[in-house]
Symmetry: C2
Subunit: 715 residues, 2 copies
């Protein structure tokens, strides 16, 4: 079975590959620099350009450099200034190996540009400028050069247009840009091989061990590297017995994967069980304050670093949904996280400690307990107690990856703690890659949300752009759960590739999700304007369409328990999961106010603690998350809650029907296999959206007894 190339079909390399390219990297720049050389070699061979390299013994001459269309060079601590005096601070021990070719590059730059070097620029960033007919990409390090090369690829011919003097600097906003894979090494009897995976089996694992053939992983690593992902978690955060051994006797399997990811600037991470000292270590305790437990982790981690010197670190889901954790020993999560952090610290490793901790044996009869409160209540008292190499990984919302929920207050509430915000690329609650739902706009809303009292946004807080916490290292960035599997199209629904792409680009720092989508369309499907328009028509508003025909006004869930697909109004209503809507014959919603409800609104800083508290100021789309209101309550939109429900469900379905006809019109303009898969998925989306529409309209008509004012049929 051939594998779809996603956003890197050969054709996108034509503009670069048809030109004369100098790749100027020093000796020992490592495997990522070699990847740049290899990419340019392959592209120029395919499209008739040329590759020139430069070595210490035979450095490139200024003449040769000047004859290039493109120069890709590592210039440590580089910056380019058009004028003015900027202090140049060579970084000790790094510049020398590149000096042989720097004069040639300086000659190309000529008089109007000054090549500067300084010490603080990130190794992931790069500078591009046009001098005469030459396009120069200069990066501080190999990863930056790789990203700079792919930036050229994405820009296509326009990167080489005659715009003399144009310069641009680019670097990632988020230091860590991570994809977690919820892959089991063996097929789990209930969850399958990839938990919440909707695109086939794992590309990493087969029958408990790493796959023999890792060519697919290599393709994946290349794709991720091209868009700046720099970390991957290799296994499910729910760690079962087989996966626990990856930390110990199967660490060689992890090393093989690390080797495949390394040339693309990506470090690998393992999810571990907090109980590993017992389950694989043979100890009788996993108490974080127990010296034997500490020693066990120290030596287990040391052995991992023997096998993988650039191992990224550990991901932990502890005391959550049945996973073991420090609570069993009367310890808190700072004790737990620091236990692992101290084992990792000598090697520069990091522990990602998930904040998804709540009581999943809640009694539905108890209306005072509120799952939304749990992460804040558990973690904010620990602020300041985590070691520097602990990252607290916080889901974007207080519940669980719903299509609509407020931003988690935890993100603004722990200034002394490194934080990563967790998104979900895999569409667990957003259509499971059967529904075309482009999540870029949702993530954009989340990232732009001014959560902190001083207006700092979620993106700002996650990236650690201001170091309000003094001496702490920068915070972490964004993490997301991947949506790939061994499916031909990687993501089941071919259009779901756009979500993977968008996550990486937004994590990099791109701010316009529709522009990102546009970029993805061009790379993946080429330049046909009809195709471009159709995909935009289908995807631009697809998240809001999905929101329309599913759970209304932020109330969440209403999905089938277990697999979470399709409607079930009361499916979670009387369960132990803490996910309720309390719909009765009169009204619906969860009272989370301080005045009369669970008090969750009090976890927010101003102004949100007051905005959400009042039914007058609470935004419509979150009304039922924060308030229990009558069906006849009038929204800011002017509609009542019940009529809003009737309307959005009818309209949402109609929009899906239009999406399907929009797609049908581009038959023949995209590859048949791609078209066929999308068409098949749209048919399912239409069926499913119709179920959502009719079940919710019927269920709430049966409860409320209020007819649809528009007279549309209710079954």
């Amino acid at each position: 079975m051939s594998t779809h190339p996603m956003w890197l079909p050969d054709e996108v390399f034509r503009p670069l590959g048809s030109r004369r390219v100098l790749v100027a990297v020093g000796p020992d720049d490592g495997p990522v620099a070699q990847t740049v050389v290899d990419e340019v070699a392959a592209a120029t061979e395919r499209f008739g350009g040329s590759l020139t390299t430069t070595t210490e013994s035979d450095p490139v001459t200024a003449e040769v450099a000047a004859s290039q269309d493109v120069i890709l060079a590592i210039v440590p601590g580089v910056a380019v200034a058009g004028s003015a005096a900027t202090r140049m601070v060579p970084r000790p021990g790094t510049a020398e190996r590149h000096d042989p070719y720097l004069p040639a590059i300086a000659a190309v730059l000529g008089e109007r540009f000054t090549l500067l070097r300084w010490a603080t620029i990130g190794s992931d960033s790069f500078t591009t400028l046009r001098v005469g007919r030459t396009t120069l990409v200069m990066a501080d390090g190999a990863a930056g050069l790789l990203y700079g090369m792919h930036a050229l690829v994405r820009r296509g011919d326009s990167a080489f247009a005659d715009t003399e003097g144009e310069t641009w600097w680019d670097g990632p906003v988020h230091p860590i840009r991570m994809l977690d894979h919820w892959d089991n090494t063996v097929v789990h009897p209930v969850m399958g091989q990839v938990e919440r995976g909707y695109a086939g089996g794992s590309i990493f694992w087969s029958e408990g061990r790493v796959r023999d053939d890792l060519s697919r992983v290599a393709q994946y690593a290349r794709l991720l590297g091209s868009v700046g992902i720099n970390a991957v978690g290799l296994n499910n955060v729910n760690v079962h017995a087989a996966e626990a051994r990856l930390l110990t006797d199967h660490v060689g399997d992890v090393a093989r994967l690390a080797e495949v990811f390394r040339p693309h600037g990506i470090r690998v991470y393992l999810s571990v069980s907090f109980a590993a000292p017992i389950t694989v270590g043979g100890l009788d305790s996993a108490d974080p304050l127990d010296r034997a437990v500490q020693d066990w982790w120290t030596s287990a981690v040391a052995r991992v670093y023997e096998a993988i010197p650039d191992f990224g670190g550990l991901v932990v889901k502890a005391d959550s949904e049945g996973q073991p954790g420090p609570f069993a020993y009367g310890r808190d999560h700072a004790d737990g996280a620091n236990l692992l952090a101290r084992a990792l610290a000598p090697f520069g490793g990091t522990v990602f400690w998930r904040a998804f901790v709540y009581d999943h044996h809640q009694d539905w009869r108890d209306r005072s307990t509120d799952r939304a409160r749990a992460a804040y209540d558990h973690f904010t008292p620990l602020d300041g107690r985590f070691d520097d190499n602990v990252v607290l990984q916080v889901k974007y919302g207080p519940m669980d990856f719903q299509a609509r929920e407020p931003v988690s207050p935890v993100i603004a509430a722990m200034p002394q703690t490194r934080l990563a915000v967790e998104l979900q690329v895999t569409q667990e609650y957003t259509g499971q890659q059967q529904h075309a739902v482009y999540l870029g706009p949702q993530w954009d809303e989340i990232l732009r949300f001014p959560l902190a009292e001083d207006g700092r946004t979620v993106a700002y807080l996650a990236a650690g752009l201001s170091q309000h916490h003094g001496q702490r290292p920068p915070t972490a960035g964004l993490v997301a759960v991947s949506n790939v599997g061994d499916d031909e199209f990687w993501t089941g629904h071919p259009l779901a590739q756009a979500n993977l792409y968008a996550f990486a680009r937004l994590a990099w720092g791109e701010e316009d999700p529709i522009a990102v989508l546009d970029e993805w369309i061009g790379l993946t499907l080429g330049d046909d304007p009809a195709v471009r328009a159709a995909v935009h028509e289908v995807l631009d508003g697809s998240w809001r369409t999905y929101e329309k025909y599913t759970a209304p006004l932020g109330v969440g869930f209403m999905v089938r328990p277990g697999h979470h697909y399709g409607p079930d109004v009361d499916g979670y209503e009387y369960t132990a999961w803490g996910t309720y809507h309390f719909a009765d014959r009169d009204g619906i919603g969860v009272d989370r106010t301080r005045a009369t409800g669970t008090g969750f609104t009090g976890q927010y800083a101003a102004p949100w603690r007051d905005v959400y508290e009042s039914v007058e100021t609470c935004p419509d789309e979150l009304l039922l998350f924060f308030h229990h209101v009558p069906y006849t309550h009038v929204l800011h939109s002017g509609s009542t809650v019940i009529q809003h429900l009737y309307d959005t469900h009818a309209d949402g379905y109609d929009e899906v029907v239009r999406m399907a006809s929009t797609c049908a019109a581009v038959q023949g303009k995209v590859p048949d296999a791609f078209f066929d898969r999308v068409t098949q998925r749209l048919a399912e989306q239409e069926r499913s959206a119709r179920e959502w529409r009719d079940q919710l309209r019927s269920a709430f008509f049966r409860r409320s007894g209020i007819p649809d004012a528009t007279g549309r049929r209710i079954y």
Copy 2:
């Protein structure tokens, strides 16, 4: 792990085993007669009695016979008359081999009894009489002798009491008494090894093949034989790929099981896929009118009979819940059933063709389609078209083994067709062997129900006690889905053994389910009156208790979809399964009347077609099965529907609490392992019943807005 002896602990053989016993069987009476000899040998050896046998060359003398406490004899065509002239018709070729010992037995009988032989008595029946101090059991054939011996065992010492002249005839009411096992040979990823099994894995199969060690099967066969079961289906009616091979290359596995069941008078049956000619036969069709298909079945069945000369026949679920069937070829179910019947006929085999055919892709929006109608609509037009060796197997109710539903009208509607009524011993919808639910009273109600216009009951119709259909062979009897697995107690919940026992005894013809339960208690748990009283207190009313705290007034379902355990009021409400209750803010129930509903009431003969049609005459317990009524509708009981729901759910839970405390009081009086398992299950029943209570009370309060008049708390 030791296996619980169920109702045959060694101790129950003491009364028989401590006596002098003559087993008088002829040569060639076969393996079942040998089982009688072996049982008596083991019992007398254990308890100090003696076994005497008689052979052709050395026949027992009248003197020896007269000195016995017990005589167990095969006397073909036997009957005993105290006086009067009854014609004796020796059956050709059968009497001779028993004649050597008949004079001795006649001598024991003496003058006051006349030993008669006739031809029509069933080989499964037996006659018992007391002459002096001797208890004689005489049977027409080996199976009858086995049953007669076990009847003595069940009666215990009282069977040997000095009641000179007492005679009793006993024989089964139902010619076929069958247990179907929904066992997969391999573990199904969703359904497990035993579909709807709640007692561990299959006792027959392991990893696709018959188990090596069949000692457990032998125990099971002995237990079933002791209570008159004479047929077992060995595999799941949903036939997957691995199981399809039992008919072909794995038939040797079936033969091994047949060998184990044979000595206990039990024939084995296989469930087959209608598509077998394609899936295992390599044909491109399974069309019943296709000659190649007919030939395939003919030779497949012939090969089975080569391996198993007394093979019972086939069980088929066709065109049902995704199973293939004749509809695919535009044929009807008579065509389908007769196809298999004709392959079986030359060998005396029977096909059990299940009538559980309905549209499981129903659109919930369509209120005119009624799953309850399906079996009648599909099958009654075919009455008279089935071959003599086809048995139509009809579930007792029109839906699916609910704790409460009306009796299926099909049972009285096909006079020209052999019928078997199917019950469910495995507690799919009745607590899954976590809840103590003694089903005897439910089955008794079903069997006694006067379904036919002339008052004939379901039991009467199933047994074929009157041959209204002229030249047809007798109808079939009762079939049930077994509840056993490889669990230590066979049935998960030890008290669920009583259901297995009761099914067999009611199929035999016993009419008082509480007396049957009493018998089971004595055999299984001994004679402690406190234990006896406690088990009665727990089980006698347990079915009605279960009914109270689950779906009310015959409305059915309200279980969690898929696994069917625990409450979910709307779980099936918007599905494709045809199982709805239409509860809204005003009322609940399904209108199945002719006047305004689906017309299902019209499938019943008088008087039921009218009794059910009218809300005035419809019994309370089936009200919501037949009518959609307001919550305020007043029942015959005087309560309203909603108050009934509130009350029964509160009361039902309270009854479970009392059951648990009743059980707790017998600690130490029953074996610890038995007690512990029951206690553990009762805790789960209490938890589950509380969920049922609170969820239903809350859900219907939320819908109706009507408070519980008793003021009990609604969450």
